[in-house]
């Protein structure tokens, strides 16, 4: 349980050769072993979605995956959303529509929405609401998150 294994995590295109216990969760490895603290821990039991990252194209909760399971996979986190200084349309939309207050859940929502929209650019508004209901936000009451994601979806489709 406590013997460490060498693995390689590829986060936002950069490889991190790290050594982790088999029980190390992916989110702990991303935050502590790789120093990428933009991904947050909200519940560690897969409900709140604050730790959502994109692994091989799929948004998933990094608290429910072991780091060793992500060995060799492509991981994207909030730090990789912007293109240099150019924010991702989803990040811009959250700012424009006031889709965040304390901002703790925001990275999880951004990765969830981006992951789903990249996979299903033409997702219906109703299905998008289903998707957004999988993460928790305690500040915004969701109104502006929904607005922001719909606006960004439109912009992403237009690209």
């Amino acid at each position: 349980m406590t013997d460490k294994t060498a693995i390689t995590l590829t986060i936002n295109g950069r490889t991190h050769a790290i050594s982790v216990e088999p029980r190390r969760t992916l989110v702990d490895a991303i935050r502590e072993d790789c120093g990428q603290t933009g991904t947050h821990i909200g519940c560690e039991h897969g409900i709140c979605g604050a730790c959502t990252v994109i692994v091989d194209g799929e948004p998933l909760r990094s608290c429910l995956m072991f780091a060793a399971q992500a060995d060799g996979k492509q991981i994207r986190t909030v730090e990789g959303l912007a293109d240099g200084d150019e924010l991702h349309p989803m990040q811009r939309a959250f700012m424009e529509h006031h889709g965040l207050q304390c901002g703790f859940c925001t990275p999880g929502f951004l990765m969830l929405a981006v992951g789903v929209l990249e996979r299903e650019p033409n997702i219906s508004d109703e299905d998008l609401l289903d998707v957004l209901a999988s993460n928790l936000c305690r500040c915004t009451g969701y109104q502006n998150i929904i607005k922001a994601v719909r606006a960004a979806a439109k912009e992403m489709r237009g690209k």
Partner: protein, 778 residues
């Protein structure tokens, strides 16, 4: 006009500019407490039982384990109130011989990784002789109940009473008396970031820097220094980005005290991040109150006297700094709400139990008293056979200033106007038609009203009236301009999601003529900011905003004097705008940056009229003001399953002058969503032995995007005379009104069944139980 420019003549205040907080937050570059690297991690061993005596703590050899025995000389937390028969009770930072609730910290384990600390904590073996726990207030008030604290026999820690002189005479004249018992079950504020702390020792100075997720950094410093007996100047407290608080993070966490003690002892840095289970069982709870309310009405359905009994379950300890009086005493002072009722009698008690301590949570008592009062209004409307909006129309106050039966002075507001605005916007006749059509098809729609006041921005006299030893009312703000013209405001408030950096920058921008984007607001660092109380009680925009305005005006006055010298013009002719001082009606101007430089380097030019530098302090301690709103909920109740769907939510609100409408709307949205969650979903459930059955977010249910309907907002702006910015606070209103509106709507929907649901959350189980009891539903 874009979000980053300002049209000529317009003010920054009142505009929905984008938040200055956001760029770092959306990029993942914000810094929350748990983001700090640590070499040593702390895990707390917590009591698995609700009540008992600790006989033995069997510790594994590995790691460092600290218990109460190690903490000799550390004082217990003993919050004080000098009124209302308050019985001071003490909370040791680690349980000392006795445990009083499931989750109470007994030992702290320190290890080199989180995982190791958890392993060692799991290996700590506790021998506890269990005693009989008292979990709810009924049990705690029983004569035979064991005392949770020997210092408070009978478990009543506080009892307030109030009665107006002519109460009995009015009561005797009642045409109708309506009685009900309203109850709020126990809830948890559930900020998405649970509590966390990181304490670091500086070998050069011996000082400790405690970075923690708190709403009150300065008082955290004072309190911990007191408890540990260390010089306060040796402790620096930093609240970095804080992931929501809603009141839970204004009360002192015993864990933070232990962290500072450990950092001093080990001369090293130690970190703790609460997990969600710990937060749900031990991170402070809220609500859990019963209000028994009787209203005496005259023949015109006018409320003439109100009688209330408030019982608040305060948990095992009294929270610091507000004390456990915060809920019952606010209930007692504010229960008459926005209604004109002259005669009032109330008894409010805080009762200790073997449960997690209570702390303030967004709304503080008012969600519960508003539920009680708004149920009373709806029940009375039914009894008088008038509409729910009509009974409110007959009872709402409309002459200001209005002094309430408890002596509170209500400033100008728009109780009736917001009611009319909401009723018109919802189109009540159309709804009633739709409701009847739906009923004919076996579908049950309902509409619910809540009209309420939200007392905000109150200064130290309001806290003194409760007899509090600590009266966290005023705020200081230091606004300075450096020699390059850079503007900084250092504030004692401690925002954590409210967007205060943006709104305060808007206030300063209008005074000194630089855009808000160029103004830095510094908060959450006791080394960098003036002493202040923090962010809670819908106070920061009013009080810190007022102090900011005062300080900014002083800087403005200096700049104008400097400009009048440099431009050789009368002070009255100087205009500060767009980074320049101009002589009105001319093209003569001087850049503010140049004036700033000269304020430091050329002071001889100002003939001793202007003190050197551009640093000014503003201090503000206002009497308090009242925001108001009318909430309307439309719900559908599935009578077969008891499930409630909120179809629509409408808010007509008045918070005085609005500094940033986008941020204000966001506060209302978020408050309403929490209110809907409180009304329908959220409940901490204890079993009979004091164990918690809702220790995950799969059991304790904050609402998701599915449960929150579109929220329609309507605004009025009645400027406050009790706030120099004319702004009133609005952080809590959403949460205060929404539960009552939703529960009233449920009752309206279920009118054909003759049931009354007066409890939150109104879960499917409770609604089905009420329907079954009625005998009119399957």
């Amino acid at each position: 006009m874009t979000a980053h420019s300002k049209g000529s003549g317009a003010t920054w205040v009142g505009r929905a500019i984008r938040r200055l907080e956001d760029p770092a937050l959306v990029a993942g570059r914000a810094r929350f407490t748990a983001d700090l690297a640590a070499t040593r991690w702390v895990r707390f061993v917590r009591s698995p039982v609700a009540a008992g005596y600790i006989n033995n703590i069997d510790m594994p050899a590995e790691g460092l384990i600290v218990t109460a025995a190690s903490l000799k000389g550390v004082k217990p937390i003993r919050p004080m109130l000098h009124k209302f028969n308050y019985k001071p009770i003490s909370q040791p930072v680690l349980a000392n011989g006795v445990v009083r609730f499931v989750g109470e910290p007994i030992a702290a384990v320190v290890a080199t990784s989180k995982e190791r600390a958890e392993d060692i904590a799991d290996a700590v073996s506790l021998t506890i002789s269990e005693t009989f726990p008292v979990i709810d207030t009924d049990a705690a008030l029983n004569r035979a109940a064991p005392a949770v604290h020997a210092d408070a026999p009978g478990n009543v820690v506080l009892e307030g009473r109030v009665k107006t002189a002519e109460f009995h005479a009015a009561w005797a004249n009642a045409h109708k008396i309506i009685k009900l018992e309203a109850r709020s079950r126990r809830q948890n504020a559930t900020p998405m970031e649970a509590r966390a702390a990181h304490a670091a020792y500086d070998p050069a100075t011996g000082r400790i820097t405690l970075t923690c997720t708190t709403q009150m950094p300065h008082l955290t410093r004072t309190a911990i220094a007191d408890l540990l007996g260390m010089p306060e100047s040796d402790l620096r407290v930093i609240a970095p980005d804080v992931g929501g608080g809603f009141g839970q993070k204004m009360s002192l966490a015993t864990e933070y005290v232990v962290l500072v003690w450990l950092a001093r002892k080990l001369k090293s840095s130690v970190a703790w991040a609460e997990d969600r289970r710990e937060n749900l069982i031990a991170g402070f709870h809220s609500r859990d109150q019963v209000v028994t309310l009787e209203g005496a009405f005259d023949a015109n359905a006018k409320l003439i006297a109100l009688k209330a009994d408030v019982v608040a379950n305060i948990g095992a300890y009294s929270c610091f700094p507000t004390t456990c009086g915060v809920e019952p005493l606010m209930a007692m002072a504010e229960l008459p709400g926005p209604y004109d009722v002259r005669q009032y009698q109330c008894r409010a008690r805080g009762v200790a139990t073997n449960t997690c301590p209570m702390a303030p949570y967004r709304g503080v008592s008012r969600p519960v008293i508003t539920l009680a009062l708004e149920r009373l209004m709806d029940r009375a409307a039914t009894a008088f056979a008038i509409a729910p909006d009509e009974i409110r129309r007959r009872n709402l106050i409309d002459k200001f200033p209005y002094t309430s039966a408890t002596g509170l002075v209500f400033d100008d507001a728009s109780y009736k106007q917001t009611l009319e605005m909401a009723v018109k916007a919802i189109d009540l006749p159309a709804f009633r038609k739709r409701q009847n059509e739906a009923r004919a098809k076996g579908r049950y729609l309902g509409i619910g009203f809540a009209t309420f006041s939200e007392r905000t921005g109150y200064g130290s006299p309001a806290f003194a009236a409760r007899g509090m030893e600590i009266t966290p009312g005023w705020e200081n703000v230091i606004v300075s301009m450096d020699p390059a013209g850079g503007v900084e405001a250092r504030i004692g408030s401690s925002p954590h999601g409210q967007g205060l950096r943006t709104t305060l920058a808007q206030i300063i921008a209008d005074e000194i003529g630089v855009p808000p984007q160029a103004i830095k607001i510094v908060h959450g660092d006791t080394d960098r900011t003036p002493y202040g109380w923090g962010t809670f009680a819908s106070r920061s925009l009013v009080i810190s905003g007022g102090a900011t305005l005062i300080a900014a005006r002083k800087v403005r006055a200096k700049l104008i004097k400097i400009a009048s010298h440099l431009l050789e013009a009368a002070p009255d002719d100087i205009v500060l705008a767009d980074g320049e001082a101009k002589v009105a009606g001319t093209d003569r101007a001087v850049p503010i940056a140049q004036m700033a430089r000269e304020a430091y380097t050329q002071t001889h030019r100002f003939k001793g009229e202007i003190e050197p530098g551009l640093t000014e302090t503003g201090s503000y301690d206002p009497p308090g003001t009242f925001s108001n709103a009318c909430h309307i909920a439309i719900v559908e109740v599935d009578v077969e399953t008891g499930r409630v769907t909120v179809e629509k939510f409408l808010v007509a609100e008045d918070a005085g002058r609005i500094i940033n409408p986008m941020i204000a709307d966001g506060q209302v949205h978020g408050g309403v969503a929490q209110g809907i969650g409180n009304a329908l979903l959220e409940e901490i459930i204890y079993d009979d032995d004091g164990g918690i059955l809702t220790a995950t977010l799969a059991d304790y249910l904050p609402p998701t995007a599915h449960e929150i309907p579109p929220i329609e907002l309507h605004h009025m702006e009645t400027p406050s005379v009790n706030s120099i910015t004319k702004a009133k606070g609005l952080g809590e209103g959403g949460t205060i009104g929404a539960p009552a509106a939703v529960i009233n709507a449920i009752n309206d929907a279920l009118k054909p069944f003759g049931v009354s649901v007066d409890e939150m959350p109104a879960t499917p189980q409770r609604i089905r139980a009420a329907l079954r009891k009625s005998g009119k539903a399957a």
